[in-house]
Symmetry: C2
Subunit: 115 residues, 2 copies
DNA sequence: GAAGCATTTAACCATTCGGTTGACAGTCTT
DNA sequence: AAGACTGTCAACCGAATGGTTAAATGCTTC
């Protein structure tokens, strides 16, 4: 269990959610999730320049969602889903707001408020 | 079950993840989750102007994460967690990448690749 | 209707974003 | 060493972001 300040955690969540807020980047992650890929392989399906994809990869790397390893003149890109766990846990907190009926939720809130 | 195009879904995820990519906005959601709040009540804890908070609320509203209701000269702001569900489901896909050991994952990928 | 709140809108500013093109740097092949 | 290939970097562009202050809108109350 790694300790980390609330501020650092917030910054990590900022960068993870931001990395995921772009359709192309989410698509890249899906693709990379099926196995190691080179930058060229990753870029191929998209109608943007290689440089643009390179920037997307930098954003994903900044959020630690991917990891790169040099293999000769290529670069193997692997997914690193670990940071998503924190994001998912953040979201899970709100699960009660959609998994319970609205009436149950209302009661829950009223109970909390009256404390 | 509501049908919706992949494009519309992608746009919704864009806006939800973007809305969540800001520490202040996530903090606002936590606060609003404890019960209905007015804009003034929401803004009070933050060291930014009311106008800035008003903009954050607009972003959250754009992602449909909050709902407003006019109550006289006030506005009651309520959370609407439903869109988070979709985001959480997107993330859940990657759960296997952190809940299984790396070796198991390697095998999984190799099996998928060889198909 | 004037004064007083609650909140939004407008105008502005600096920074970031997502994209481009073109130059550059490694690496492999010949 | 010359080419070919993979990928990044730098410079630039227009649009969006997150903040400000000041003016405007809309209710409520006097």
């Amino acid at each position: 269990m790694v300790k980390s300040s609330a501020k650092a955690r917030a910054l990590r969540l900022d960068s993870v959610f931001h990395a995921l807020s772009d359709t192309t980047r989410r698509s890249i992650l899906r693709h990379v999730a099926t196995g190691e890929k080179t930058v060229g392989q990753i870029a191929a399906p998209y109608p943007v320049s290689l440089a643009a994809v390179s920037k997307h990869l930098k954003v994903l790397e900044g959020a630690k969602l991917i990891h790169r390893e040099k293999k000769g003149s290529f670069q193997m890109v692997r997914i690193n889903a670990a940071p998503m766990r924190e994001a998912e846990q953040w979201l899970a907190y709100y699960e009660k707001f959609w998994s319970e009926g609205l009436d149950a939720l209302q009661n829950l809130l009223e109970r909390e408020e009256s404390r």
